[in-house]
């Protein structure tokens, strides 16, 4: 990594504007964007969805969607303006000068070709295959941290896990030793521990190759940890850029400040602002509303030709939730946390164990008792786009539970819907709209209003804020918190994100492979984690160590 004393920037974006032509007229996705990337340097562009961060980066490799184009400004790569470069020029540049690691490992590898083939064609296209291309392929895959690369090269993408696919994509992105690597949210689809491993590896590889990285991310903590320089984008404009740590510790633009205050990984724990309610609940004294003991779920997995295999998704799990408190169940994908939620909601039958709600056994309830139980326990699901019926107006959506349970008449139900909308800070006029007209966060508010309609005692939040942008996420978490204080609600909060847990939970259960590896109060878990797994999870939260 030796550079000349006064190096030229590798990438220089000057007054960049990008416009998409849509049936409703032109959309200005990026305006007056300026930033530079020095050779070998990592620069992170941070912003929410729709801020223009990916669009700016894609313009630099000539991959804007068909209806988008650079409407003004320059993109200088090594001094050459490529803003309006020909497709031919881009084909020359891509791969060996500018590489890319895309976002979603599941959809970015062609499912019908072997991994080795997809790496090899990259090498060939850039004239780097050499005499023994298969050996090169194995080498490239090994460099990206895939063990047993010769075997891996002969496999298809569907035989790889998400983390392995991302490693294969990194191998492809770096196979031709580009001088600039565009990494577009390279790990946002992965579990935190896998994310950390992969980013560490990417760091090592790029610093060895001297590759500059343009890292696109929504996570300011991650950006500050991995980049020398951070560029913050908001509504298509660059609002602030500067040294990563300085931006993080001393943000100047109000938007950046807002972003840092909302980021769960960077903000404080379940703070002083509601100390009161935590104090009221004295552990051991409060009545547990939900008591789960020795809960087990075994699935039969069909293996073809009538063969079956048993898979234990939840293994002998026990925990209690005191009334009026929040218990978070944390784990990575496949840990069994969502299966627990489904069983508590009685949407899935348990194999063994007990779920006791307010002194009553759940699981062998009669039809009538189950119907009553449904009134007392309500869910909020992860995907804000999937949890509301697109055919139902907001009014019908929130009214549905009242109607099912035969509560009130038409007039009183309408009044109740208005009240509920008010409770979740949505204007009453929203009533006549349809889910497709609302944003993700707004839909999640509607889902909360629907859950509240029956005045339940407990709400099961299954990854309820995971799909939202940080600012919106913070708002929804705050709303949940307020509602808990006002109505004394009890939450079972399922999440993969430990950072969020700290903001909302009183007690935490950490799960791995269907078992609870550790449980305790939030402070205990965060300040004195006992199991190695919890320590790893905590350590993997990006940016936590920087403040």
């Amino acid at each position: 990594m030796t550079q000349s004393a006064t190096p030229k920037p590798l990438l220089e974006v000057k007054d960049l504007a990008i416009t998409f032509s849509t049936p409703d007229g032109p959309v200005h996705a990026v305006r007056d964007a300026n930033f530079t990337v020095m050779p070998g340097e990592t620069v992170a562009i941070v912003g929410e969805s729709g801020s223009g961060k990916s669009t700016s980066a894609l313009a630099a490799i000539g991959l804007l969607a068909g209806n988008g184009k650079v409407s003004s400004g320059q993109i200088l790569f090594d001094g050459e303006d490529i803003a309006q470069a020909s497709e031919k020029r881009f084909v020359e540049l891509r791969g060996n000068h500018i590489g890319m690691v895309p976002q979603d490992p599941m959809s970015n590898l062609n499912p019908v070709w072997k991994i080795g083939f997809q790496v090899k064609e990259t090498l060939k296209a850039n004239g780097l295959a050499g005499d023994n291309p298969n050996k090169r392929v194995a080498q490239v895959l090994a460099d990206a941290g895939l063990p047993d690369p010769e075997t891996r090269a002969r496999q298809y993408p569907h035989e790889f896990s998400g983390g392995m696919r991302q490693r294969a994509l990194i191998a492809i992105g770096l196979a031709c030793r580009p001088r600039l690597l565009i990494a577009d949210e390279p790990t946002s689809a992965l579990d935190v521990t896998v994310q950390q491993q992969i980013l560490d590896h990417l760091d090592t590889m790029t610093s060895e190759l001297g590759t500059a990285v343009l890292l696109i991310t929504h996570d300011l903590g991650l950006a500050a940890e991995r980049a020398e320089k951070v560029v913050v984008m908001y509504k298509g404009r660059v609002v602030e850029y500067g040294p990563a740590l300085e931006i993080l510790r001393n943000p100047k633009h109000p938007y950046t400040q807002r972003l840092i205050n909302s980021a769960p990984s960077l903000s404080a724990q379940r703070g002083d602002k509601h100390e009161a309610i935590v104090d009221e609940v004295i552990p051991g004294k409060a009545e547990p509303l939900l008591k789960v003991s020795n809960l087990t779920k075994v699935f039969d997995i069909r293996k073809g030709f009538g063969k079956k295999e048993k898979f234990t998704a939840v293994d002998n799990v026990s925990f209690e939730i005191p009334k009026g408190t929040t218990t978070a169940v944390v784990g990575e994908s496949g840990s069994g946390k969502s299966t627990i939620a489904q069983m508590v909601l009685n949407l899935l039958d348990k194999t063994e164990g007990e779920i006791i709600f307010d002194g009553e056994q759940i699981g062998n309830l009669s039809e009538k008792h189950l119907f009553k139980y449904r009134r007392r326990v309500q869910p909020i699901f992860q995907d804000p786009y999937g949890s509301l019926d697109p055919m139902y107006s907001i009014f019908r959506t929130i009214e549905e539970p009242l109607r099912i349970h035969g509560i009130g008449n038409a007039a009183s139900r309408e009044k109740k819907v208005k009240e509920l909308l008010d409770q979740v800070s949505m204007p009453a006029s929203t009533m006549h709209r349809f889910p497709n007209e609302l944003s993700g966060g707004q839909r999640q508010r509607i889902a909360i209003a629907r859950a509240l309609a029956l005045q339940p005692e407990m709400i099961v939040c299954d990854e309820a804020v995971s799909a939202l942008d940080v600012l919106v996420q913070a708002q929804v978490l705050e709303l949940l918190d307020e509602l808990q204080r006002e109505m004394g609600l009890t939450y079972l909060f399922i999440t993969h994100d430990l950072a969020v847990v700290r903001q909302i939970a009183d007690n935490v259960c950490v799960m791995e492979h269907g078992k609870i590896v550790e449980q305790g109060t939030t402070d205990e878990i965060f300040d004195a984690p006992k199991s190695a797994y919890t320590r790893n999870l905590l350590a993997a939260i990006p940016g936590a160590s920087l403040i």
């Binding site: 990592t42 950390q196 850029y241 938007y255 697109p390 609302l438 889902a447 919106v472 708002q475 160590s545």
Partner: protein
Amino acid sequence: MPENQNFNPEDGLPIRNTRAGKVSKYKIEHYVAPLEETPLQAVDSVKETGKPLSMWAEAWRSLRKQPLFIISTLLIIAVMVVAAFPQLFTSIDPTGNQACLLENSNEPARQGHIMGFNLQGCDIYARTIYGTRASLLVGVFTTLIVVLLGGAIGALAGYYGGWIDTILARLGDIFFALPLILGAIIVMQLPAFRENRSVWTVIITLAIFGWPQLARITRGAVIEARNADFVKASRALGLSKFSALVKHVIPNSLAPIIVVATVNLGVYIVAEATLSFLGVGLPPDVMSWGNDISSARTQLRNNPTMLMWPALFLSVTVLSFIMLGDAVRDALDPKARKGA
């Protein structure tokens, strides 16, 4: 490659390097954009202007601007009116005693008989107009039966899964192995059908071999909708499993069914004509486009108009239904829908 990773002596798991962030060796300017340039907006503000639109309303709004949709709808309405009130379009009643005069055999067009005469001396225009009803009846009722039967079977199979699905899927496969025209030929040969040939036997026959396709499509759509969170949420609200199917799953599976049914309506009209052409469709005394085209076949060289007119009417009708299906598909395409 130097991976200075440490391992925990207790459990052998790697301990992460403290990631203290990176400091560039270049001097980096700290730039802050003036606040006026991008004033902060409220987080996640609610759109309160504009008329609320359901998915159907939105589809309708985009449909009514589409020329393809307008043309096909107008044509379909016209065809329906012709089928219902053929006497409005021609003063000649081709079923009447005086309708066909042998002296007019294969006569060309003349005043009052714009399409000329067929071999029996019947007015081609009047026969074509009166033939509309049979063709349309077959198309509409076959589609209705197929949608109800195939839709119900597909929905049950997709929604309940398990052994119901297995049995229904195999049953569908079996019918699928018998191509529509071949199967229909066999059924129309059965004594019960052969001796009572009418519009209804054709409809039943086409429906018997048409339902598996619709069942497959419905099943796929229902499986997709059944796994949606909003169905789970409704169940958790206390809605029974069957009510959730009726209130949430089926309404959300309708789009592909509507599209396929519309296109198939046209296809069934063609199938009826083909069967009539092969002599196993509508009985010869029923006036239909298929029968007329079939009887035009022997006269092709000396009187091609006999074939042309019923064929043209048939093709335009079928085309309208296919175009309508296409237009509706574009309007209901989930990818084109906003926010989804």
